[in-house]
């Protein structure tokens, strides 16, 4: 079979399809989005009738995947690292219920926060839940490991956490495919109480889980992805986790035989392999993208049995993504560098597209809010967060999906009036609706503006669950129809929009304003697609 040129994300997606996937569940989030997008576009997925619709958020995705697993079929769920916080309740408990059909949870971490609010390390979630974690080193391994992930999930009857980072997710390389596996047939769990986590059942299953977790360390398939490369001499031994191994090899290349190396691809670690490495060296350098997790384990509370180098002693920077230069310096090797960036080069932050409705909304809001004073606009995560940058400087918060609504409620409780929340349509259906119910129940004096561009813009324009539903959702939750307004954020409506916003800001109760104008990117893409469609039918 010809090799395919695939992003890490796409390699994972293709592997899942080839490994007999029946259902893919996800909510968009950089750098994980392309996994679902690939499966949605895949002919193979279509002809195999693989379920592949976006979910409302990561928790609903995780639960739907668990349901598919319950029914005996293989399911995968993908999210960005912070998405796992949203899905955490379902995820942690799915380790206690265990699975039936294979269940793989892909968490895409974003060290250096290229497109994220933090750089949390999902490997901790694996340890927290007591499940196997796999961390591929490259695109081919990502493809191959997915087969093992499903098999291990069914063998241990546990979800498997598949951890990648931005660099692997969004880097392309050639991938060789394997023979396709058939999908599982529908089959219910042998034990009808397996998924019933009443305390009496949960206690038993949790105790069993703690035992299984220890056996994972020496499982030949799981541990087979951890390689001890014995080299000449003692000196500094190296533990390199996931893609850190590539940066190591980039630097030592043909001299790798001089070093003792443990290349880690799965967790929990095999203690004997770590002991073997430590026994061969005077000190151990730990290279891991994300938090110093293995480093902390190795040091232990007393930090005295092994001399450990890594992020905690400054050998490697405490935060941020690894790269070849950082690893060179950690190894004490000379690294090259080209010329400095000339001082005339300016920062070029992201900005609103020309013709973006969010921008026109903020111009109107800025003028209305000028009277009330600064510090009153709570916002959320999406393209509209760019309202925090000049020339608008309007946004005072961006914390986690949905927080705009509930932070405004809390601030209003404290006496802040007017208080405004600005949220995107997709973010609203992800996690804003429950907060709105809180606001309705106490008629909180806030103005919620849903800036509805009818797409999930920031992540590249995926379908939004909110489209055509916002009025009925808001009314259904109990918003007063007299204070549910719709505006069209266009320059020509500027004055009218200002007066609608101004009037609702004065209202001493809950108001919701839907500011609706289609995303310019989505609109032009749809137009092109339509034209292409016409062209085709014209032929």
């Amino acid at each position: 079979m010809q090799k395919l040129l695939l992003l890490g994300d796409e390699a994972i997606a293709q592997a899942a399809l080839d490994a007999g996937l029946s259902g893919m569940y996800a909510y968009p989030g950089t750098p994980s989005t392309e996994i679902m997008e690939y499966i949605q576009a895949s002919q193979q997925a279509a002809s195999d009738s693989v379920h592949r619709e976006w979910s409302s958020n990561e928790k609903t995705a995780m639960e739907a995947a668990l349901g598919m697993s319950y029914a005996g079929k293989r399911a995968m769920v993908a999210m960005k690292h912070v998405g796992l916080n949203v899905a955490a309740d379902a995820f942690i408990n799915s380790a206690v219920t265990g699975v039936n059909g294979g269940l793989v949870v892909v968490a895409a971490d974003d060290p250096s926060m290229h497109s994220s609010q933090n750089e949390q390390d999902s490997r901790f979630y694996g340890k927290f839940a007591l499940v196997p974690v796999m961390e591929p080193r490259n695109q081919q391994e990502a493809y191959d490991m997915i087969f093992d992930a499903f098999a291990l999930s069914e063998k241990f009857r546990l979800p498997v956490l598949f951890r990648i980072t931005t660099r692997l997710a969004h880097s392309r390389s050639a991938v060789a495919r394997r023979e396709k596996t058939m999908q599982n047939t529908l089959s219910l769990p042998g034990n009808p109480r397996q998924f019933v986590l009443l305390p009496a059942i949960a206690r038993k299953q949790y105790r069993a889980l703690t035992g299984i977790y220890e056996t994972l360390r020496t499982d030949s398939v799981l541990d087979g992805h951890n390689r001890l490369l014995e080299g000449k001499g003692r000196g500094t031994g190296i533990i390199a986790c996931g893609i850190a191994f590539n940066y190591l090899m980039e630097n030592i290349g043909d001299n790798y035989g001089d070093y003792n190396i443990l290349s880690v691809g799965t967790y929990p670690l095999n203690r004997d392999k770590v002991a073997a490495l430590v026994g061969r060296c005077d000190r151990v350098l730990v290279l891991e993208d994300g938090y110093p997790m293995i480093e902390e384990h190795l040091r232990g509370l007393l930090d005295r049995d092994v001399t450990v180098l890594g992020r905690l002693d400054g050998t490697v920077p405490r935060d941020g993504e690894l790269n070849p230069a950082i690893v060179a310096s950690a190894l004490g090797l000379k690294s090259t560098c080209g010329r400095d960036v000339p001082s005339l080069v300016r920062q070029r932050p992201p900005s609103f597209c020309k013709g973006c409705g969010h921008a026109d909304l903020y111009s109107a809001l800025a003028e209305v809010m000028a009277e009330a004073g600064p510090g009153r606009v709570f916002s959320d995560i999406g393209c509209y967060t760019l309202g925090a940058l000049p020339p608008y400087n309007m946004v005072n918060s961006c914390v986690d999906m949905g927080a705009s609504v509930t932070m405004a409620v809390g601030a209003a409780d404290a006496g802040l009036f007017p208080a405004v929340a600005v949220i995107g349509d997709s973010t609203f259906t992800h996690s804003g609706m429950t907060g709105l119910l809180d606001a309705v129940l106490k008629d909180s004096p806030i103005t919620l503006i849903i800036s509805d561009n009818s797409t999930t813009g920031m992540t590249g324009g995926q379908k939004s669950q909110a489209t055509d539903r916002l009025e009925s959702i808001c009314l259904g939750i109990g918003v007063d129809p007299a204070h549910l307004k719709v505006i069209v954020p266009l320059r020509k409506n500027h004055e009218e929009n200002k007066s609608v916003i101004g009037a609702e800001l004065k209202h001493n109760g809950l108001s919701v304003i839907l500011a609706r104008r289609e995303c310019i990117q989505t609109a032009s893409r749809n137009k092109k697609a339509e034209a292409a469609e016409k062209n085709k039918s014209g032929e």
């Binding site: 070849p324 090259t336 560098c337 597209c353």
Partner: protein, 185 residues
Amino acid sequence: MAGVGGQGILSIAATIGLAAVEQNLFLKQAEVHGMSQRGGDVQSHLRLSDREIWSDLIPHGGADLIISVEPMEALRYLPWLSSGGWIVTSSVPYVNIPDYPEAGKVLAELDRAGNTIVLDADGIARDLGSARSGNMVILGAASSFISMPFTSLENAVRKMFSRKGEEVVAVNLKALHAGRDATGR
């Protein structure tokens, strides 16, 4: 490879990628998605080799070539350029920030940076009647620094654009040629 989000540097990368597959070369190409695609600076690291490539990222001082569709963006990646490396860039500034430096000063910096080819890719593309093929002009201009036969790039362009019809293929091939001819190499 450098540019501004929305300028389409990834189509240059994808074309080289297709050619590399045809040539049976190892390839790694790290790209930036997400936040910065909204008019921010974007970059892609592309590595080609006849043996296995380890890092997805090019080490500092390890790039043989900077291909840029925007002059100031080319300068942003000088720390990655090797001594003796080349810069091939469009001369046309993309001004979406209030403090964009004087265009003349940017070009002077590029001159100082060493081996630099600066060309008005958009102008050349416009003259060909295809204002949107500036990317392929740049790729053509860079082609002599990419150790692959020119024909493999031509084949890749055909594959890239075949879905859009013969006309689009022809225009992009013309742009590729015009870029190569403009450098006289």
